[in-house]
């Protein structure tokens, strides 16, 4: 392997790892300086991940499979490890022969991959060995034995009506213990999912989550669309993160094609990501207030959100920034009058947002409900690999914008708020700090907006290239991993929304809290069901 292709920061890790496992690790390829692949045997994966975790503080950010039986005669498992300090990714690829379709679980050592491993088991029919809870996850219990992400399963398969139980919940027993089932259709205007609370009196003893109600076959669908159409599909993975998901997808394709977005396009990308962050954070601040009955604050928040959505529409033609993402940059450039509107928004939001925050901060009854509610302890957050807002409110000092600068984030200094308390109050605080930072970032971006085109041509992408795209969305880190196929199509698109990582943390944060506080705790995480279920 040519170590010269590896970034200087990752090189020591790669060298040490190769030494440590002397030659057993298999081929190492470095398609990009911060994205290094090891073709490792399956039995080495767990030791390798543990080693990287212990010695290099690596995070196992996603585990997924790829049906490469046609090309390589095996399934491939991928383990993506982020080395935040070295600003790079190490990816282990391990073969699973179709004759013995099974793989060892890492969930005991890395609880954060618990659901992801089960998803592999459900969608690829690869059996988990040694998993603490190997029940179905992505497919509900009433589904027949099908493995939708195998290549020999047809996307358009019509499955017979489902029968039987959706999900067998664990029993919680004891004197005075009640079960409270909620969902999938909820009381508010939110996405569907099922929560089963086990309570003794008011406090919650145990919360079981049942998701994947909005599983739409999205990853499979990507394999059936031309790459360009994939951008539009990516916008519909999670509506609140339309631009972030589409951009992560474009980023992956651009990396596979070896094309860089032009400077102006990268800046506009960053501005759009900040606009998305702004409207979601402000809406969340309002919604958190509503859940503790401070509706007036929410009305002001909705008013501000509306201002942002209107500017989005003025800049991109769509209030959720849809249609703006494109391969190679962004689709629409902004003229002077549009930029003036954007600058006007920032100027207007500054005092307006300060007033909103003041309204909340001065309401002692609101703060009383938020403080010490739904605590996620830093140790638990770290074990679960919690990312994004929830991670930062529980001591995890991390943000891809700073640690893996994409788009134009290498040109600014992103301040990352980090708190240790991990309660609803501090998840709100992270949002407040980030709104202020977003406003300042947008200002910095427009102040030094370079000229030139906003997108580069991305021609035909060569087949059988793998690439990881990443974006820090407003909720947390988003990954899209692709493997290309001939004729500008994809053989695989793996989507990792931060929600998938963070859901289990909600079950931890709610323990010991009272059921009436669940809505506000849930809102403080505000995870995407669609992003999780895909």
């Amino acid at each position: 392997m040519m170590l010269s292709h590896v970034s200087s920061e990752l090189r020591p890790v790669v060298e040490e790892l190769t030494r440590r496992f002397h030659g057993r690790l298999g081929t190492c390829v470095a398609p990009r300086s911060n994205e290094i692949y090891f073709h490792a045997p399956l039995d080495l994966v767990s030791g390798c991940c543990a080693h990287l975790y212990r010695n290099w503080n690596a995070r196992l950010v996603t585990v997924f499979a790829d049906d490469a039986r046609a090309e390589a005669g095996v399934f491939h498992l991928y383990y993506v490890l982020a080395l935040d300090a070295a600003h790079g990714f190490l990816i282990l690829r391990a073969p699973v022969p179709p004759e013995t379709p099974e793989f060892p679980s890492l969930a005991n050592a890395f609880p954060g991959v618990n659901w992801q491993e089960r998803e592999v088991q459900d969608l690829f029919g690869l059996k988990l060995i040694g998993h603490p809870n190997p029940r179905r996850c992505a497919l509900h219990d009433d589904w027949p034995e099908v493995y939708p992400l195998r290549k020999d399963f047809d996307l358009k398969t019509v499955l017979p009506p489902f029968q039987g139980e959706r999900h067998k919940f664990r029993k919680v027993e004891g004197e005075g213990v009640f079960q409270v089932p909620v969902g999938p259709v909820h009381a508010g205007i939110i996405e569907p999912g099922h929560f089963l609370f086990s309570v003794a009196g008011e406090p919650v003893l145990y919360l079981q989550l049942r998701l994947f109600y909005v599983h739409k076959g999205t990853e499979k669908l990507f394999e059936h669309l031309p790459i360009a159409h994939g951008v539009r599909l990516a916008e519909s993975i999670s509506g609140d993160s339309s631009f972030a998901h589409a951009t992560a997808f474009c980023h992956a394709v651009e990396r596979a094609a070896g094309v860089d977005a032009p400077p102006r396009g990268r800046v506009l990308r960053s501005v759009c990501l900040e606009l998305e962050r702004l409207h979601n954070h402000i809406a969340d601040i309002g919604a958190i207030c509503t859940d503790v009955a401070f509706v007036t604050a929410n009305m002001h928040a909705l008013r501000l959100k509306e201002k942002i959505l209107r500017v989005n529409e003025h800049l991109t033609g769509n209030r959720l920034l849809r249609g703006q993402a494109c391969l190679g940059g962004v689709r629409f450039d902004w003229d002077a009058s549009q930029l003036k509107v954007l600058a006007g928004l920032v100027a207007e939001l500054r005092p307006e947002f300060a007033a909103l925050v003041q309204l909340v901060e001065r309401s002692s009854s609101t703060l009383d409900r938020l403080q010490t509610t739904g605590i996620l302890k830093p140790g638990v957050a770290r074990d679960l690999g919690v990312v994004g807002i929830a991670g930062r409110a529980s001591g995890f000092d991390h943000d891809l914008r700073r640690d893996f600068p994409h788009a134009a984030y290498d040109q600014v200094k992103v301040k990352v708020p980090v708190y240790q308390a991990g309660d609803v109050r501090h998840r709100l605080r992270v949002r407040v700090d980030e709104v202020r930072e977003s406003l300042s970032l947008i200002e910095q971006f427009i102040a030094k907006l370079p000229g030139g085109p906003v997108h580069a041509a991305v021609g035909e992408v060569p087949a059988d290239r793998a690439a990881l795209g990443y974006v820090e969305g407003w909720r947390g880190e988003i990954f899209h991993w692709i493997r290309t196929a001939p004729d500008n199509r994809l053989a695989r698109c793996k989507i990792k929304d931060p929600s998938l990582q963070n859901w289990p943390a909600l079950s931890e944060a709610i323990l010991g809290n009272i059921v009436p506080d669940f809505p506000v705790v849930n809102k403080s995480f505000n995870l995407s069901y669609s992003g999780t279920d895909r």
Partner: protein, 291 residues
Amino acid sequence: MLGILGKSLSTGIVTTSYPATPPDVSAHVRGRPEIDWANWKDARPAAAICPTGAIAYQDAKGQRVARLDLAQCVFCGLCADVDPAIRMTHDCECAARRRADLVAAAGYRLKPDGTHERLTSPPAGTPACRGEASAAPPPSVEALGRQIKRRAGRIFGRSLHIREVDAGSCNGCEIEIVGLNGPVYDVERFGIHFVASPRHADLLLVTGPVTRNMELALKKTYDATPAPRLVLAVGACGCSGGIFGVNYATRGAVDTVIPVDVYIPGCPPNPYALLHGILTAIGRLRPEHGC
């Protein structure tokens, strides 16, 4: 407390007067696409670039039938980028009572190279959008706004209760629906309330391609809603399955699972489009609904 009051007073009224006044949208907004059928030279480039299949065609014996289906359209504008006969309008209020009203199809005689020689049959049912000529023009939005108080008053005791059901959406539609409850669109000024249970609802606002996993929940929600009830399919996915279509995990359009009274296209429909759809639905209440 005084601070809260002060803030409200200093903010003043921000509520739109829609539908008395037209939607206040940007000059850059992308509404529904419009095809200049008579001068359309070739349906193929637009069909190839359209991500959802909203523009599609079928050729047989030197003839082509080309169509635009607003129920599938996500208003992305890609077709207008490649085809001079297509332009993106600012019109977002596209709600229709019949699925077929959202489809416009035209016939062409083809040249040997596959381009259109001439229009042989102009679109019969043009999309039932505002400002469009159609067989029975829908009442203007203003008129609908006046009707709503009268009809809703008669049938629902001056209040209409809506239950929102996400049957598989990406949550984009939900972002805009939440906006209806905000101070700018303020749906309560019409006596319309969002309620927590289908048992309290007169109208179901359903989003998403209906996933296999939500199919049963949607049916149960529908059954739990007392008659007379109305169902609105929201967004490209709710109207047609959208970009997701029908696959192993989704059933596609809402009307494959429960009967739909009004379709609201868009991706997502903006709050004006949603209001327009809800007003359209109430205008539709006739004796066949048991009232």
